[in-house]
């Protein structure tokens, strides 16, 4: 039994779990909206577009400048994405793809003028989940609180806009503002998470929880709750697996990847459970004369 709790009494494991649980609370509801609005590609793009901000922030103000730089880049992306997709000259996915590659490349070009080129990129991909500092925890908590408050206020119009944009417009909501609000919320989550847990894990946290919850329920509130619960469970099991594999068996299992793979395993189990709960529609009765 102690094997299930003991690893988390080590300070860095405890902080990693705390960071992930904080993110679970905010990613549950946000991922549901990402799922409803089909913003998976946008979420993926945002994890890449903060990169030039991270680099510039580092160049300007060292380690302390990273969060600020990422925040500026993420907000710029949210505005640019909303503007370009509403402008409608390019299809949505083309806009996202071009913005993603252009901004990420800007970061790469900037980094390539520095020395520790590859190690920076690796840190960006993986984050430093096991070296999360109390300051980062506080930063994540603040951003999570802002996002959750914003969502609590605008949840109703956001959901209406997702299901019936025309009705939302008729009801007097400004669609561009709603889109900007949701894109900004996703951007803030990315900023809160990317430095600590890396891009791989952020993409997964914004997409997989809601997709899993959707397999188990049809109701929105239940989806958000299940999404949070699943993320929390996967965070615990993934970290435990990573710890056990590394300490007990000497297999190098990256913690971020372990958490994502656990989350995907939950998705597959939910897929199975969904099928069992609701057997596939029986074949239509043969027509008899």
């Amino acid at each position: 039994m102690s094997g299930l709790v003991a690893p988390f009494s080590v300070p860095f494991m405890g902080r990693a779990l705390a960071e992930l649980l904080l993110l679970a609370v905010v990613c549950g509801p946000v991922s549901v909206l990402v799922f409803l609005r089909r913003l998976a590609f946008v979420a993926d793009a945002l994890t890449h577009t903060v990169f030039p901000g991270v680099v510039l922030g580092f160049l300007v103000a060292g380690w302390t400048g990273i969060a600020g730089g990422a925040l500026v880049a993420a907000l710029l992306t949210a505005v640019a994405l909303t503007g370009l997709t509403r402008w409608g000259r390019l299809s949505d996915d083309t806009t996202v793809a071009v913005l993603l590659t252009a901004m990420f490349s800007l970061g790469v070009v900037l980094v390539s003028r520095q020395h520790s080129y590859t190690s920076d990129l690796t840190a960006f991909l993986f984050g430093r989940l096991l070296t999360v500092t109390p300051a980062q925890l506080a930063q994540t908590a603040v951003l999570a609180a802002i996002v959750l408050t914003g969502l609590a206020v605008t949840a109703r119009p956001l959901v209406l806009r997702a299901f019936d944009p025309i009705a939302a417009a008729t009801a007097g909501y400004r669609l561009t503002l709603l889109d900007l609000g949701l894109n900004t919320a996703v951007a803030l989550v990315v900023v809160a998470a990317v430095q600590a847990v890396g891009t791989i894990l952020v993409i997964a946290l914004l997409i997989v929880p809601a997709a899993t919850a959707r397999l188990l329920t049809d109701r929105l509130t239940a989806m958000a709750v299940i999404a949070t619960a699943v993320t929390g469970l996967a965070a615990y099991l993934g970290l435990l697996a990573s710890w056990t594999a590394s300490v007990r068996y000497g297999v190098r299992l990256t913690s971020a990847a372990a958490v994502v793979l656990t989350l995907v395993a939950c998705y597959l189990l939910a897929l199975l459970a969904g099928h069992l709960r609701r057997p596939p529609t029986p074949p239509t009765a043969t027509v008899t004369r």
């Binding site: 799922f35 089909r38 913003l39 998976a40 590609f41 979420a43 993926d44 000259r89 390019l90 299809s91 949505d92 996915d93 083309t94 996202v96 793809a97 071009v98 993603l100 590659t101 252009a102 990420f104 490349s105 800007l106 970061g107 790469v108 070009v109 980094v111 390539s112 003028r113 080129y117 590859t118 190690s119 990129l121 690796t122 991909l125 993986f126 791989i200 993409i203 997964a204 997409i207 997989v208 809601a210 997709a211 959707r214 397999l215 049809d218 297999v251 190098r252 299992l253 990256t254 971020a256 990847a257 372990a258 994502v260 793979l261 989350l263 995907v264 998705y267 897929l271 969904g274 609701r278």
Partner: protein, 276 residues
């Protein structure tokens, strides 16, 4: 030609032109069918295949193609599950594939170099094998699209009509996904995932701004792709910055200029029409 292949920059130039043309050709269909996210997913999800193949000691291109086919099948199957749709299914596969690849790479030594090469590529260290594979695929793709491009377009725009006209719609869709898979697997080792996506989407979207007809659009996309690649390489040499990043910024600049030109042309046309 052979003098070009002697020197590093010359080889990179040849590879860049070949990759730019190849991505331009395929990109037209990716942009018209809105397959950008799928392409991105393909680039990430073939990663574990490539890593597994290199660990097991089999051909890495084979590993990538097999992983790509599994990806396409998984996205298609998940998207048909109740309550899931294509975007979410694609996203799940993307995260799963990426994480699996990273987990596999991390078990090996010296993984951070491999990972950043996967992301941003290393076109300046392109191997002869990379060059041969890219050139061969360019020839195959050019032939395939000359024969089947028009049919692919029809199936994409009007699946019901195509089915009624006797087309095997599923088969043609699958053929397109397979083509995207092959292109991604062929070019990612040399240019990385981000540049692959940039070169597939941006030149084709730029060509789309100039014309509505398929044949000129495809030719223009291939030209713009190759042009962006050469210009990007040139700038990277001039200013001593990363080649991959510089090429994809060049592609984005070409798109911006095309969009601006399109807008200007529309503006002039309106003025001209209202004056007469």
């Amino acid at each position: 030609m052979s003098w070009l292949l002697q020197d590093t920059f010359g080889r990179a130039l040849v590879e860049a032109v070949a990759v730019g043309m190849l991505t331009g050709l395929v990109g037209v269909h990716v942009v018209l069918r809105r397959l950008s996210f799928f392409t991105m997913t393909m680039a990430h999800a073939t990663f574990p295949g490539v890593v597994a193949a290199s660990i097991l000691g089999i051909n890495i291109y084979l590993g990538g193609v097999v992983a790509g086919l599994l990806t396409a099948a998984a996205v298609a199957a998940l998207a048909r599950t109740r309550g899931q749709e294509t975007t979410a299914a694609t996203g799940v596969i993307l995260s799963a594939g990426f994480a699996l690849g990273v987990a596999l790479v991390a078990t090996q030594n010296g993984f951070s170099r491999d990972l950043s090469a996967f992301l941003v590529g290393s076109i300046l260290t392109v191997t002869t094998e990379n060059l041969v594979v890219t050139a061969a695929l360019l020839a195959i793709t050019a032939v395939a699209l000359t024969v089947g491009g028009r049919h692919l377009l029809y199936v994409g725009f009007d699946p019901a009509g195509a089915r009624a006209a006797g087309y095997r719609v599923r088969l043609l869709d699958l053929a397109l996904l397979l083509l995207v898979d092959l292109v991604v697997v062929a070019i990612v080792p040399a240019v990385g995932t981000i540049l692959a996506l940039a070169l597939i989407v941006a030149p084709a979207a730029a060509a789309r701004a100039w014309t509505d007809r398929l044949a000129p659009m495809t030719a223009l996309a291939a030209t713009l792709g190759a042009g962006s690649a050469v210009a990007g390489l040139w700038f990277s040499r001039l200013w001593d910055v990363a080649a991959g990043g510089s090429i994809s910024l060049a592609a984005a600049a070409v798109l911006l200029v095309s969009l601006a030109a399109h807008r200007l042309r529309d503006g002039f046309r309106t003025i001209f029409l209202s004056a007469t």
